[in-house]
């Protein structure tokens, strides 16, 4: 017994002896105290939190070799091996900040990011769907941002003095050819993909990453949504058709499908149109999306859609309005996109994809039919390596294969066919290096081998960003960009080289809690543009060139007035180019010097409605008047539009959406067509290109059927 007591006593004393005091101070790299950091001896309960001064002190009964760990949100974990022997331990620890934090500098030159809700982004995914005047069209909403020029008769994105073909769309990294639905000449087309499909949108007006190629002016990068979370069925009754969609969700996968029928005929029957329609546009579209989660972080996505649309109209001759020519158009379009993302280990990940598109146009001019078939595949494999939180590497290979075939009957009713393939193989590599949380550099290079003209090219891209202030930062970008000439030109001359552009961008941006200010200055140089030799469209060269420069301002505020969110954009553009049939350098017809937009959205809870208003202004555009000695000397009137929309939520599962464009009914003129030959007095007669109707009115009623009645389609609108 005595012995036992002796032993017990020994234990207690040795325990007392072994009590070790651990104390110290935890700061950040600049020496500022970190309060609330978690200090612990790994694998034990022992530890404490740091005080307001960053100090800590605790006792432990543990002995021998142990590890002290210190953690805090936003900092890298610190650990140190210690030997606990009863001797007090004092530590002075400075934690290293993790870079990927909310307030780290980001490369902002040229790019507008929407989505990734958790980050501080300029736009949210839903903004694109709820902008008045855009009628849920992605390009329509982006046209209210700086860097774009409104080209009302086209509906496409025209970026910084570039034409509509210079802005390319990518879905999950894969190029989308023919991203816009067909439309009658001089009427706006809509994007084929609805904004609600995407969780994130990055709209770049220049200086974009080496990952994106074959785009001269702009890359619109859309990230599709991940696995759906809710089972639901959606029904939409629209003034121009109807749609039905269903989503089924499983533990790790989801499938959704949608069928949409659009017929604008009844609407055009009621509202007078500028166009002499025989059969106004109608379309049927089916789409499906499949998602499967793989492993811990992997996902496989598939998206596919098919669309058929057609219309017929009469074009009347300008000189002799009674002389009409039939213009008919039918389009079949199919697009499939499969992509995957998989983490290989902690630092490596791989993503890739395959997309296929099929676009068939059957065009009828009077009695002569022309058929066009464009097919394309794009395959891509990208590896990403996070060397540390400061260095990220990305490299990949891509292959584009596109084919074009056109056939028509010549005057002797003989079939004429022209066909060619454009294979392009590319490789790119890019590194993003954070010198600190305040300075980042992104440098990349893109090489392309074009099999049609058998040429290899190398394009560098560099961006840097520096954040000297808490919220404000500067960003600079430089890059070289290229794209193959349009099929309509390659059809004539398959030896045409790629058109080239060089971008220089300086950006300043402040993103505060709910206010954003952004200013950007840029210069863009074009070379190798397609040009008609001696004005002959059958003789094409790459002798064209041009420039665009300007500055842009953007302000967004959803804080000052409760429930009101608004943004204001202004763009100044100075551009000239000497290309196509231009006799000399001149302002192209799609460019306007001043573009101004105000977008406002307010939720009015009394009437359970969101009201949206958009005002847009574009200064006069150039057009060529053949009666004038000077080329492109004419100027259209300025363009103005005031659009409004209202989304009313009477019940949790029901939304009624009404939108009206051009509320004030302004008669906007986009340009003039001239007769091909002069009249008897030697004058060319003109006809204004106007909006097909002054206003466009849209009414939609959307039901959602789900087990849970609080779900509705607002995120889809």
């Amino acid at each position: 017994m005595r012995k036992a007591i002796h032993i017990l006593l020994l234990f207690i004393t040795s325990a007392t002896f072994a009590q070790t005091s651990i104390s110290g101070v935890v700061t950040d790299e600049k020496g500022a105290a970190i309060p609330g950091a978690n200090v612990s001896i790994e694998g034990t309960y022992d530890g404490t939190s740091t005080s307001v001064e960053g100090a800590f002190q605790f006792e432990t009964l543990e002995t021998g070799a142990q590890t002290i760990t210190i953690t805090f949100v936003g900092f890298k974990a610190f650990s140190q091996a210690v030997n606990l022997s009863g001797q007090p331990i004092q530590l002075k620890v400075s934690l290293k900040e993790e870079i990927n934090q909310l307030d780290a500098v980001v490369i902002s030159a040229g790019s507008f990011t929407a989505g990734e809700e958790k980050r501080r982004t300029i736009l949210k995914a839903i903004d694109i769907a709820t902008t008045a005047g855009a009628t849920a069209d992605i390009a329509g909403a982006l046209n209210t941002l700086p860097g774009t020029q409104k080209v009302g008769e086209s509906g496409r994105l025209f970026v910084r003095g570039g034409d509509g073909s210079e802005a390319k769309t990518f879905i999950d990294g894969m190029l989308v050819a023919n991203a816009y639905s067909p439309s009658a000449p001089n009427t706006p087309s809509r994007g084929r993909f609805l904004p609600f499909m995407f969780k994130g949108t990055s709209f770049s007006t220049g200086g974009y990453s080496a990952e994106y190629g074959q785009a001269l002016s702009s890359a619109l990068v859309l990230d599709s949504k991940d696995k759906a979370e809710l089972n639901q069925t959606d029904l939409g009754l629209l003034s121009v058709g109807s749609d039905v969609a269903h989503t089924q969700v499983w533990d790790r996968s989801s499938v959704s499908g949608k069928i949409q029928y659009t017929n604008i005929r009844p609407y055009f029957g009621m509202i007078n149109q500028e166009i002499d329609w025989i059969t106004p546009p109608a379309s049927i579209e089916g789409s499906t999306a499949f998602r499967q989660e793989v492993g811990e972080h992997g996902i496989v996505k598939f998206f596919g859609n098919f669309n058929h649309s057609d219309f017929k109209l009469n074009n009347s001759d300008i000189l002799n309005p009674n002389q009409k020519q039939l213009f008919g158009y039918a389009n079949n379009y199919g697009y499939g996109n499969a992509s995957f993302l998989q983490a290989l280990n902690d630092s490596w990940s791989v993503k890739g994809g395959l997309s296929y598109n099929y676009n068939e146009n059957n065009i009828l001019f009077g009695n002569s039919p022309v058929d066009e078939v464009e097919k394309g595949t794009h395959s891509k494999l990208v590896f990403e390596n996070t060397l540390s939180d400061r260095v990220e590497l990305k490299f990949g290979v891509e292959h584009f294969q596109s084919s074009y075939e056109a056939s028509r009957l010549d005057s002797l009713l003989k079939q004429q066919t022209i066909a060619f393939n454009t294979p392009i193989t590319t490789g790119f590599a890019e590194a993003e290096i954070y010198a600190s949380k305040y300075f980042v550099t992104r440098a990349g290079v893109r090489t392309e081998y074009n099999g049609l003209m058998e040429k290899l090219s190398v394009d560098p891209r560099v961006s840097i960003a520096y954040k000297p202030f808490t919220h404000g930062q500067f960003s600079l970008a430089y890059g070289q960009f290229r794209q193959v000439a349009q099929n309509e030109f390659l059809r004539v001359n398959q030896n045409l080289e790629e058109e080239k552009a060089e971008h220089f961008i300086l950006n300043y941006q402040v993103i505060n809690n709910q206010r954003t200010f952004r200013a950007e200055l840029y210069h863009k140089r074009y070379s190798n543009l397609v040009k008609f030799m001696n004005g002959n469209p059958e003789q094409l060269t790459n002798a064209g060139n041009g420039y665009a420069q300007g500055f842009e301002l953007f302000w967004r505020d959803n804080k000052t007035v409760r429930n009101l969110d608004y943004w204001v954009s202004y763009s100044y553009l100075d551009t000239e180019r000497d290309y196509l049939d231009f006799p000399n350098a001149s302002v192209p017809g799609f460019a306007s010097t001043h573009n101004f937009s105000v977008v406002g959205k307010k939720f009015i809870s009394e009437i359970k409605s969101q009201l949206g208003v958009t005002y847009s202004y574009s200064s006069p555009r150039a057009y060529n008047n053949p009666n004038s000695e000077v080329f492109n000397n004419g100027r259209t009137p300025a363009y103005q539009d005031l659009s409004m929309n209202l989304s009313y939520l009477p019940k949790p599962f029901l939304i009624i959406h009404l939108s009206v464009t051009n509320v004030l009914g302004r008669d906007n003129v986009f340009g003039y067509d001239y007769s091909e030959t002069p009249d008897t007095n030697g004058n060319y007669l003109s006809r204004a290109i106007r909006q097909p109707a002054k206003r466009f009115l849209f009414l939609g009623i959307f039901f959602t059927i789900s087990k849970n009645k609080s779900v509705n389609q607002l995120p889809n609108l």
Partner: protein
């Protein structure tokens, strides 16, 4: 024999002591988190829970309460982006809990609570998506344990808010809130570490119903 008995006794008491140590540490910190008046106090309790969780490895409660603590911190944060960062943290530690204890009603209810808080960051944008997700998750929690008062109370609150917004009858929401109170008033679980919070939420809804 005597010695072996003694050794056995020592072992047993050591094991008991270890378990007691866990319970005691947990109870102290659970009390602390319920009583916390400031972000700092919550952070301290959360830190303790994370220490305990890392040391124990097979217990889900420390991560559950750490997640609860981060949600509580998010309710005190004004800046939306920072609130999201705290909710990210809440999600991250709750995942550790759900790996240890799969298909648990309490863990699922807390997951729904996180979705509910996500809505508050930007109701106009997120309302529809996250409120649907929250309701679905509360439903799942009640499927796992129909007597989970917290899942019932949070569901009542969510439903009440929606009904108020659409000026539709609040009957169903109010019924759920009274149900939740009845569940809260039932004899509590014998487990001293079982979650006890949430009655105020139900009471608040009942009060608004009157």
């Amino acid at each position: 024999m005597k010695t072996s008995m003694l050794i056995l006794f020592t072992f047993c008491s050591a094991a008991l002591f270890a378990n007691d140590k866990y319970k005691q540490a947990m109870q102290t910190n659970i009390q602390a988190i319920y009583k916390a008046q400031s972000t700092e106090e919550i952070q301290q309790a959360v830190n303790s829970f994370e220490r305990i969780g890392t040391a124990e490895k097979s217990k889900w409660e420390p991560f559950y309460y750490a997640s609860f603590g981060y949600i509580m911190m998010s309710t005190r944060e004004e800046d939306g982006a920072k609130r999201d960062a705290l909710l990210d943290k809440a999600t991250e530690v709750l995942k550790k809990a759900s790996v240890i204890q799969q298909n648990d009603s309490e863990i699922t209810a807390l997951e729904g609570f996180i979705y509910m808080m996500r809505v508050t960051v930007d109701p106009a944008t997120r309302g529809q998506q996250y409120s649907g997700l929250a309701m679905q998750t509360f439903g799942k929690a009640l499927g796992l344990n129909p007597e989970n008062p917290r899942a019932m109370a949070l569901m009542a609150q969510m439903e009440f808010g929606t009904a108020q917004f659409f000026k539709s009858p609040t009957t169903s929401a109010c019924e759920k809130a009274s149900n939740a109170i009845a569940m809260f008033d039932a004899p509590p679980s014998a487990d001293p570490l079982a979650p006890r919070w949430g009655k105020e939420t139900a009471l608040r809804v009942v009060k608004q119903c009157q």
